[in-house]
Symmetry: C2
Amino acid sequence: MEIKKRQLEIIEAAGEILTESGLAGLTTKNLAAKMGFGESALYRHFKSKEEIIVTMLQYLAADMDKRLTACVAKLEDPVEKLKAVFNNQFDFFEKHPHFLIAVFSEGLLEESKKINTAIMQIMATKKKHLLPVIKQGQQEGIFETATSAEDLLHILMGSFRLHMLQWRMTAFSFDAKQKGNKLMGSILTLIKV
Amino acid sequence: MEIKKRQLEIIEAAGEILTESGLAGLTTKNLAAKMGFGESALYRHFKSKEEIIVTMLQYLAADMDKRLTACVAKLEDPVEKLKAVFNNQFDFFEKHPHFLIAVFSEGLLEESKKINTAIMQIMATKKKHLLPVIKQGQQEGIFETATSAEDLLHILMGSFRLHMLQWRMTAFSFDAKQKGNKLMGSILTLIKV
DNA sequence: TTACTTTGTGAGCGAACATTCACAAACATT
DNA sequence: AATGTTTGTGAATGTTCGCTCACAAAGTAA
């Protein structure tokens, strides 16, 4: 799946609309207006609105996969790895807040089968990177073993998601990176033995 | 705000549609069909579709407020209080899974100002009940004080929300109450001194 | 210059949307 | 039996939706 330059621009515009006006705001009319051309031009680059959304979610999953892989590879300590992963996420969303849809894609659930699959893929990608790190930490005796690795992951991801949601709901009115790193630091302290 | 019997039936039908078909599925046509009458009859009970959604969210907030108040009142121990609160929530959503929209209402964000306000109210209600209990636990030396009460609340609520999301995304395929109580128990153990 | 591909335009399609309105049962009150 | 209120019907409203199509610039390659 290669994404062309113009396609990426459209995807970014779609993300902006979703974040600032919700799903109801994402119409072909609005999207074309934001791109500065007519509605029909959209169909030169995508064959349907559904394809635009699916491509966006797939792009986000692939991008996250790349970022998190690089993030985890260069460190040894599990705690540092986790901190690096979340810091990377905060960085990304601070730079591209319109892609917060990647975190709140539940709003798109049940729109179509393909979209559902793409949403699942994003969550699976995150899990793929974090779970091994947590298990590593448990094996090295750094993290609590009374709670399963899955539950620890659940706590981390749930807290991260709620943090991002509050950031958006307050119209990005606080420093998501600083507050987020502090929060994730607290959690890591809690789950350390 | 008094809700009539027929209005409540409509609200429940709307919740069912939202949970099983998403926001796009909630049309006046579908809603009327589920109620077994024509579209125009809806407007005997509500003056707009927006009013239906807002009333639903307000009803959920009020109902939750009542339930959680009763829940917290009859217990002393903060740990037991929290367990009771979450157990009550699991019970409610097991009985009324179509009202899961109360937890995932972010999907409705930015649909309208009134809807946004109603969503905020639901989150504020939860917070109102849980935060004092956590603070009480900290004062009594039961919960960790290295992490702020707000952060502890954040972890609890974030984990709860993700749990409910996974339950829905897997089509209610596991026992949300049993698994949820286990998860919340783990978290409570983590934050105990 | 010619020919081809890419990317745009603008009018227009049928379908679905929320909402309204004149009207009719059903029901309760007198 | 007569009257008034609730709650339904079914057709129709205008609007917006995603999408198509015949056509035209603009860019590329021979």
